[in-house]
């Protein structure tokens, strides 16, 4: 009998249909992969199964009975457990104490500790109930989360990108555990975009794209390339050869390595690329593969070795953000509110945020309010930002308008090199087109531009050269005009070394 049946689940958020009539089934004991790019709707879907989000329409049935959990507690009671990508553990508490906190009816401490030992032994996840979570490695912390789920005897275990934080050895251990659970009849819904893992581990796969189920398949019968093609879609418009005559190299990144500062971040591994005057380099890849770290190194928020970043022949790895702007390297981070702009400050004050030194908006330490205001007005006018005026706080603007403002703020300063992360994320189509056009115009005027994005359509549309960031390493940039879906699929699948050999050969 089918374990979980999902029929026509739909969930809309303002401006986006996260899940659009999603239907599929999970059989008992099956390891079922849920595959898709970022933003494909995987998270929304599992949140609905786990009772964190309520569907707008559609039905679920568990063991043939209607299943509509209102909260995770109900889902757990029905036998559905979930291990999140980011753990919720208290570092100052022991393993047993942490597990107690997550349970509805926790048994006495001694009994619980014994059960933790039993379960962790049985499933090959050695764990000492009395150790402080703060002393555990990331892999061990994941075991705590898994054991917490297993203690409740789940019928369905949802795992959200479990291997993204694990070492290869830990991945092997985890897979053995999952296979054992599967053999005992526990179904596993396995979310990942690591195609090789899915091929070795999963018996079936459901592929989501743009909130819809676009394919179902048996991963073992597919190649990483064909899975990637299902994930990114066959209708990707390939760039036509563009007349493009790049000038001198402006921005060069040489062997840039940088350890991540956050437990779930990605270390950058010897990233090397150059961008020439008039060139747009598109950097694709799934979020969490080092985009944030690369951006922090390029904005100057994190210092790296001086010679790792070169701007027009000058080493600037240790140079701070403000000085980089004077030298001509401007950047626009992904997060509009709170990073690229201060939410409660007016557009004028936000113009000062990056315009201060390059636009000379201050004199003798005082803010020149008149020139700051006219700079803000120039951005608003030139980039068609819909707002009552420059005194409006940034947070009052719609996402698209604020994005036009923060990109326009950099473009208008005529950078020698511009780096933008997710320039059209969450932006409506008209604003996105305007932003892309302004980036292209800037390159046409001789700036070197780097666009980091997860939107492959966008990258294919504007890039002259293209590379993929995967696991903190960058593939060798190659002309976008010669690319095919197969090639991109291969690059995204993580076969970077192989790809690099091809490119060099």
């Amino acid at each position: 009998m089918t374990l979980l049946t999902i029929e026509g689940l739909t969930k809309a958020y303002p401006g986006v249909l996260a899940n659009d009539h999603v239907s599929f089934t999970i059989e008992p004991g099956e390891i079922h992969a849920l595959l898709g790019e970022n933003g494909a709707g995987k998270s929304t879907l599992v949140k609905m199964i786990y009772g964190l989000v309520r569907p707008d329409s559609g039905r679920m049935a568990l063991h043939g009975h209607p299943f509509a959990p209102h909260k995770p507690g109900e889902a757990r009671a029905a036998g559905v457990s979930m291990v999140f990508q980011h753990f919720s553990l208290f570092e100052a508490l022991t393993v047993a104490e942490n597990i107690t906190l997550g349970m509805e009816n926790a048994p006495p401490r001694a009994e619980l500790s014994a059960r933790i030992r039993d379960v962790s032994q049985e499933y090959g996840l050695p764990l000492d109930p009395d150790r402080l979570v703060g002393d555990l490695s990331v892999g061990e912390r994941q075991r705590v989360e898994i054991v917490r789920c297993l203690l409740q005897n789940p019928r369905l275990l949802i795992m959200d990108e479990p291997t993204s934080v694990l070492t290869p050895q830990e991945v092997d251990t985890l897979f053995q555990t999952l296979r054992k659970l599967s053999a005992e009849g526990v179904a596993i819904l396995y979310i990942s975009h690591k195609l090789d893992e899915i091929r070795t581990l999963c018996q079936r796969a459901t592929v989501l794209r743009g909130g819809k189920v676009v394919a179902e398949c048996t991963p073992a019968d597919e190649t990483a390339r064909s899975l990637a093609e299902m994930m990114i879609g066959g209708e990707l418009a390939m760039p036509k050869a563009r007349s493009f005559s790049p000038g001198e190299p402006i921005l060069r990144v040489m062997e840039l390595s940088l350890p991540s500062q956050t437990p779930f971040g990605t270390d950058l591994d010897r990233i090397t690329f150059q961008v020439r005057a008039g060139e747009i380099l598109g950097i694709g890849g799934v979020a969490g593969n080092g985009q944030d770290e690369l951006m922090a190194a390029l904005t100057g928020e994190r210092a790296v070795a001086e010679e790792m970043i070169v701007l027009s022949g000058r080493h600037i790895g240790r140079t701070g953000p403000d000085r980089r702007r004077i030298l001509g390297l401007l950047t626009a981070p992904e997060q509009r509110l709170g990073h690229a702009a201060a939410p409660a400050m007016s557009l004028t004050e936000n113009a000062f945020l990056t315009g201060r030194s390059r636009q000379k908006l201050d004199s003798l330490g005082f803010v020149n309010r008149e020139s700051t205001r006219s700079f803000a007005r120039a951005i608003i006018e030139r980039f068609d930002v819909r707002t009552p005026g420059a005194a409006t706080p940034a947070q009052a603007l719609s996402g698209g308008n604020l994005q036009k403002y923060v990109i326009g703020r950099e473009v208008l300063q005529k950078p020698a090199a511009l780096v933008v992360n997710q320039p059209t994320w969450g932006v409506d189509a008209a604003a996105a087109a305007a932003i892309r056009q302004s980036i292209r115009d800037l390159a046409a005027q001789g700036s070197a531009v780097v666009v980091i994005s997860q939107d492959l359509d966008e990258l294919m549309e504007i890039s002259d050269t293209f590379a993929v960031l995967a696991g903190g390493a960058l593939s060798v940039p190659q002309p976008a005009a010669g690319l095919s879906v197969e090639k991109i699929g291969l690059m995204m699948g993580g076969n970077l070394a192989e790809e690099a050999d091809h490119a060099e050969a």
């Binding site: 995770p72 100057g300 953000p321 702007r325 709170g338 990073h339 400050m345």
Partner: protein, 355 residues
């Protein structure tokens, strides 16, 4: 079940109005408190809030009490705007008084108009140095400045006691734990004759003007506000967070130290163990009551000075316990913060429980 939901945009009008509402709520709750203590609430409120204005000497006393509160609160407000929480102004106040006072004593019995400026510099430097301890620990080890600065208050107070019982003790003072009275050149000039209003009042007013210009016109003020509102945006703009920590803690320490020196060389006239009367803590209330805005702080300093003076009168005439006045001041901050919650959030009543 009650639930707080953030409002889209907090009302500007209410932001300005709540300090006034908080004062009114404090009067009402204070009246109830006084009634429970068996006092006539209307009379008590009148004595605290109205009577000080009717008497000329009390009016100048408002300046004497208000000056240190405003001076300290102006410094604290800079840090609070940048999310840097100096809770130890009381300690910096004491060290400022010690450093300034000891300098004055060291020059005894020399004459000269240069002595007071030197004392002021020493006082500010003392407060600055005391505040740099939490600043250094925060920058170097990410230690919590709230705890460090607060604990250093008690160290400072004990240091004052130790020094006035030892090296700074008045040689002709019959072994009382207090210093010699400051001589004329080391005592602040009086600006209103017949009162205790001293030159420090002018410095407090100047600090309001300077802070206003700093916050509204200067790049540093911009950086302080940016650091508080959006730390990631500040890092993106190139603001050095550690520099802001040092500047904010240092400035608030220096101003608190200056206030301490004024207090010692002004109304008190010597170093005594009872010098710290809580200005450093009350200034936190002043800073928030004034919405961290220099002009607001000036007004709030006046209100708090009123509760001090009226409270003293109430202690004498109604024999209210001294603690009742502290409760009164505490209620003011409590009501203000509670109302702030209602400005930024709305209360929703929901029947279903949230997981």
């Amino acid at each position: 079940m009650l639930r707080l939901e953030p409002r889209r945009r907090p009302s500007k009008l209410m932001l300005g109005l709540t300090p006034v509402l908080a004062v009114i709520a404090t009067m009402i709750a204070g009246g109830i408190l006084f009634a429970i203590l068996g006092k006539n609430p209307v009379e008590a409120i009148r004595i605290i809030f109205i009577d000080p204005f009717l008497d000329p000497f009390s009016r100048t006393e408002l300046l004497v009490k208000g000056a240190p509160l405003v001076l300290i609160a102006i410094g604290l407000s800079l840090g609070f705007r940048a999310n840097i929480w100096n809770i130890g102004a009381e300690g910096q106040f004491v060290i400022g008084a010690l450093a300034g006072g000891a300098t004055g004593l060291a020059f005894y019995p020399m004459e000269g108009i240069w002595i007071l400026p030197v004392m002021a510099i020493a006082g500010a430097a003392g407060g600055f140095a005391w505040a740099m301890i939490p600043a250094f620990l925060k920058i170097r080890f990410n230690a919590n400045e709230i705890l460090v600065s607060l604990m250093l208050v008690y160290v400072a107070i004990l240091l004052l006691s130790a020094l006035v019982s030892g090296p700074l003790r008045d040689p002709d003072g019959f072994n009382f734990p207090e210093s010699r009275l400051f001589h004329d050149s080391a005592t602040l000039p009086i600006i209103i004759s017949g009162s205790r209003a001293h030159a420090g009042v002018l410095v407090a007013l100047a600090s309001v003007v300077i802070a206003y210009v700093l916050l509204n016109r200067h790049v540093l003020g911009y950086q302080i506000k940016l650091t508080g509102q959006a730390p990631k945006a500040a890092a993106f703009a190139g603001v050095n967070a550690n520099r802001i920590i040092a500047i904010c803690l240092g400035t608030s320490g220096a101003l608190a130290g200056l206030a301490g020196m004024f207090e010692a060389a002004g109304p008190v006239g010597q170093l005594v163990p009872a010098l710290p009367v809580g200005y450093g803590f009350t200034a936190i209330i002043v800073a928030f009551l004034g919405r961290l805005n220099p002009i607001g702080i000036l007004l709030a300093g006046g209100v708090m000075a009123l509760t001090y003076i009226g409270g003293e009168t109430a202690q004498l005439t109604l024999s209210l316990p001294a603690a009742a006045i502290s409760v009164f001041q505490g209620m003011l901050l409590f009501f203000l913060l509670a109302m702030d919650i209602l400005i930024t959030y709305r209360v929703r009543i929901r029947r279903t429980e949230v997981a």
